[in-house]
Symmetry: C3
Subunit: 163 residues, 3 copies
């Protein structure tokens, strides 16, 4: 064939903010990127809380969104496990186990992902609903966009996952 | 090319009955439909409870399925959040936040989906297991079908999501 | 066309160990296999616990992984429901309801899957993290592999699901 092969694409919808769901998002994203797959992570709903800057404190624009940010801090330091959370002991143990196995931390996986060209797109509707500002989120993310952007890139992707 | 481009397809498996999972199902389905994507939503397991008619009361055919329907009412009015449910305060807050942001209600999203040609297929095995009758579910859904139908349409779809 | 049609492929990432998530994994996998789809199930994170041999007892290589195996036994006999678990009454009821509807048990679905050529690949990173050995898992699974194997087969698949 004379045509140049088009790059393969993967789109991950990162819906959850839990440690045990953010790990697969980042491991699959970085692994795919290492295979020269063009990876887009559309970060929506609870997922956006995981991409808040650590130590950002209370965010939101009214008492409800402020209360939500108080109860669910967000940032990679404060993530819970979806199972076996045991009041924070679960995530502590999981991080310890992962460290012993030389599994990279979430922060270093995010760094690797960004350096490999993985695009993290914050969901505009979620930002509006949770009263999150661009500066509440980690550096290196793309401009916020809507579901139509997610559909657009998903239609061109060989791999689609909702995580 | 002389061939007419075939329409793109998306298949969503709606497995969960929670407010925060039904929202992405409906937002992604309606957005894709607005892009002329042929969307099928295969509604299975807990997901089917979200598509019960509101105020349908106790359903089921034996004490176990009746008890299940009592403990998990179903219908868009009664959905919980998968996280931060806080005894019903979470869903109440979420609906309030969404209303303030002009996010459509679940009922209006379902209406838009149906009008855009999104097909909602109830899972036959789930209906049998939960003792749900066709008239327990909202109007406008397709005839119940099995997993083979889901596989069939999924194989032809550019986008597949399990939500 | 003179070309022989290539077999279709489906890749399921089985991330969860709950009864109500393992069921869709196995029903979708066996149904797809019955359609001559080549099915790969990449079993990762909590999912691997569901594929421990029943009655395997405490597994793990240090106090943390041993404690995890004590609190979350694994094996098809011990799976919880993600919702309505009610201290074990939920899974008991669900199994009873399924039996009345002639839904096959998990064990027989696994057997059918293996006989239909479904490949179950244990995630190496999870095995290391949880201190699981090959002999802790059910017979018939493939050799453990990493995320790159999952990406590899997912890129060739018409259907990808993260469950």
């Amino acid at each position: 064939m004379s045509e140049v092969e088009k790059p393969k694409k993967a789109t991950l919808i990162a819906w959850s903010d839990e440690l045990d769901k953010i790990y697969p998002v980042l491991i699959l994203a970085t692994t795919a990127a290492a295979y020269d797959v063009e990876v887009t992570v559309f970060v929506t709903f609870w997922g956006l809380l995981a991409f808040k800057k650590n130590g950002r404190g209370i965010t939101g624009k009214n008492w409800m969104t402020k209360m939500l940010s108080f109860m669910r801090r967000g940032g990679t330091d404060k993530l819970k496990l979806s199972k076996m959370n045991m009041g924070g002991m679960g995530p502590w143990m999981m991080k310890k186990i992962f460290k012993a196995e030389n599994v990279p931390t979430l922060d270093s996986l995010i760094q690797v992902a960004l350096e490999s060209g993985v695009k993290f797109i914050p969901c505009q509707m979620t930002m509006d609903a949770f009263g999150l500002k661009r500066e509440d989120l980690i550096d290196g993310m793309e401009d916020p966009a809507g579901a139509s952007t997610a559909i657009d890139v998903a239609l061109e992707s060989q791999i689609n996952w909702f995580i």
